[in-house]
């Protein structure tokens, strides 16, 4: 079991020339937790990981591993290990040497090295391929070597830079499960960067959603999904993501541009209504009329793409078997408890007056 290390980031900034990749970011990653940094490409998530690892230097701010200030330490003194997107295995070394390279540099005696490599190989299921070169391995095996190489040093902090993005869907699914189990066993503080929300939702203890180098939300998968703090998070998470409808609060009702009333509303002025596709209830007597554009049948459920009265698009999911013809009209209800309200200017959530989240 690795040393318990929590990661504290204080007002961290990183500039490339005049471009600010990370701007004054603060967060605490709990010891032994599995934290996922989630965001679209170019949002600064990989940069953040590299700064934590020591591969990039911070422009400003501090990073602590437990109570040790590390932002000025070179990478090798921080005690991190990293798994890379393209694996970055050494092509001229066999699997055993790849895994053992860091130990060799750390001058670990040969017998101990062999023992530790053997142990890690067993955990990652690589015993039978230790003699092979990376070019002779399958994608999944290469991925395992990359992970084995990282964990063999028993690092305090394990960093993952979109490690599964080169794998096919089935393999990705398997690796997610394997990595989650592995994390349970070794318990190092783990930080995992991805743009894939399914990876984030299934593996994370906590998710840090960032965009344009700023934190959008930092919370558990449940919080991020059920209580998004901004339209960005609401629109990024979920497949299909939350519907975000522009309208006006007027006299207790939420109205579209053409005056159609969708639901009750406690605010006046421009406001954004958010509702998850699965929260929309199809109901013959429903208050809201939708014009169906398209229906995707996925077996377990169907996704209907439709239009509101003023032309704004929205999507809803319906249970197995139910579907709708294009151009037909369906009627739906927006259950009041499932509604999220966002400020139309800032995109931030407008806090509920009622007590907390219902589900």
């Amino acid at each position: 079991m690795a040393e318990r290390t929590k990661i504290i980031i204080e007002n961290l900034s990183k500039k490339f020339g005049s471009v600010e990749a990370i701007s004054s970011l603060s967060a605490t990653f709990d010891a032994c937790a599995f934290t996922v940094i989630l965001g679209p490409s170019g949002c600064g998530k990989s940069t953040l990981l590299h700064v934590i690892a020591g591969l990039e230097t911070a422009s400003a701010g501090k990073i602590f591993f437990e109570d040790r200030e590390v932002q000025n330490l070179p990478a090798r003194e921080r005690g991190c290990a990293m798994v890379f997107q393209d694996y970055a295995l050494y092509p001229h070394m066999n699997v055993e040497d790849n895994i053992g390279y860091a130990l060799k540099l750390a001058k670990v005696p040969k017998t101990e090295r062999r023992e530790r490599i053997g142990r890690v190989a067993e955990v990652t299921g690589l015993q039978s391929v230790l003699e092979r070169r990376p070019s002779q391995l399958s994608g999944g095996q290469r991925q395992r070597v990359a992970i084995a190489r990282a964990i063999v040093r028993e690092p305090r902090v394990l960093l993952f830079d979109e490690p599964f993005s080169n794998l096919d869907a089935q393999l990705r699914h398997d690796m997610r499960r394997e990595l989650a189990e592995l994390h349970q066993r070794i318990g190092a503080t783990s930080v995992f960067v991805t743009h894939d929300q399914i990876e984030a939702m299934t593996m994370a203890d906590k998710i840090l959603v960032i965009s344009n180098g700023r934190i959008e939300q930092f919370g558990t998968p449940d919080e991020v999904y059920h209580a998004p703090e901004s339209t960005f998070v609401a629109g990024f998470i979920g497949s299909p993501p939350m519907n975000l409808i522009n309208g006006t609060g007027d006299g207790g009702a939420f109205k579209l541009r053409d005056g159609t009333v969708l639901s009750e509303c406690g605010w006046n002025g421009h406001v954004v209504l958010g509702i998850r596709p699965e929260s929309v209830r199809v109901d013959r007597q429903g208050a809201v009329a939708l014009k169906v554009r398209y229906c995707e049948k996925l077996g377990s459920h169907s996704i209907i793409s439709a239009e509101l009265a003023d032309g704004q698009p929205m999507r809803l999911t319906t249970p197995l078997g139910s579907s709708a013809e294009p151009s037909s009209e369906i009627r739906v209800n927006f259950p009041a408890k499932q509604l999220h309200w966002f400020d139309s200017e800032s995109g931030k959530v407008i806090p509920r007056r009622s007590n907390g989240i219902e589900s």
Binding site: D86, A88, P91, H92, L105, R149
Partner: protein
């Protein structure tokens, strides 16, 4: 190798290609074949036949024996070997390090360094042979300028009563012949191109594993660069071996000349009589054998290692 038969049946094209290749190989091989055949003829038969003839003469070994005993070509072959090796090792060693620094390190002087190196590719040694000769004839010349320009000489003259003038000639040395040929950075581009094809996370992975820049170079980059290193070594070895103008002026005594220069000097010596053509042809084969064998045997490695397609 491409299998063009997959696309369609293109007999006419393949036939034309065959003819072209036969013609091309003939053009390359006929001069060599003539040289080889003539090298087997004794001088007497050569004269009787009235010059070029395609009859094998069986005197190849005799002619070779004459080359070894009557000329200095054997010693000069050794000179070629030494000069070409020094050139290849210096060039490849430096260019490897320079390209490594250029690709894996950020630095203020990176662009300037790159520009400094590009220029050396544009102006070949043979173009600046006059002034390079002057420098090699006295490598202390720049020192004299500095002493003159800074007034140090003037001061020394006042104190010691004489004006110092330093003189150090590298003419007629292996290093003096090799160094100007090696002062060229073509291989920087080849290595740079190769390094850029390595996965971008590889240096990061090495850092995470605790490897510093030197370790990364020795443990990771060097073994991965085996192919381009071997290719450039061979390429520059052959290039230095076949160099003519510079070695001609840099070494004045037959004992220090390279084999190619030595051979040309033999040809020079007898202008009025009918030249010892069979002997010359044997000599030409003798001085060309080593580089041709290297190229022929290592053709694949050279072409692959230079990676000329992606420049």
């Amino acid at each position: 190798m491409k299998d063009s038969g997959m696309i369609e049946n293109a007999r006419s094209v393949d036939r034309a290609a065959t003819i072209v290749l036969v013609a091309g190989m003939s053009f390359i091989l006929i001069p060599l074949a003539i040289a080889a055949v003539t090298a087997t003829q004794p001088y007497e038969t050569f004269i009787e036949a009235g010059g070029l003839s395609f009859a094998l003469g069986g005197h190849f070994l005799d002619n070779m024996e004459k080359i070894l005993s009557e000329t200095k070509l054997l010693r000069q072959l050794g000179n070629s070997l030494a000069v070409a090796t020094i050139v290849a090792v210096m060039k490849v060693g430096f260019c490897f390090l320079a390209a490594y620094a250029l690709v894996f390190f950020e630095g203020k002087f990176r662009r300037a360094l790159f520009a400094v190196m590009i220029a050396t590719v544009m102006l070949p040694l043979d173009l600046r042979v006059i002034t390079t000769y002057q420098i090699v004839a006295n490598v202390a010349m720049p020192l004299n300028w500095i002493l003159d320009a800074t007034g140090a000489n003037w001061a020394i003259e006042k104190v010691a009563g004489f004006r110092p003038y330093f003189r150090l000639s590298l003419l007629d040395t292996y290093f003096g012949t090799a160094a100007p040929i090696a002062a060229n950075c073509t291989a920087v581009f080849i290595f740079r191109q190769f390094f850029l094809t390595l996965p971008k996370d590889l240096p990061r992975a090495a850092i995470m594993d605790g490897a510093g820049p030197i370790r990364f170079m020795i443990d990771i980059v060097l073994p991965l660069s085996k192919t381009p290193i071997v290719a450039t070594l061979l390429f520059f070895f052959v290039g230095a071996w076949t160099n003519y103008l510079w070695p001609l002026v840099a070494a004045s005594t037959p004992d220090q000349q390279t084999a190619v220069v030595g051979l040309a000097r033999i040809a020079d010596s007898d202008i009025d009589e009918i030249p010892q053509v069979p002997l010359l042809m044997a000599g030409a084969l003798f001085v060309s054998f080593i580089p041709v064998a290297l190229i022929a045997v290592m053709q694949r490695q050279i072409v692959r290692g230079l990676n000329l397609s992606s420049r």
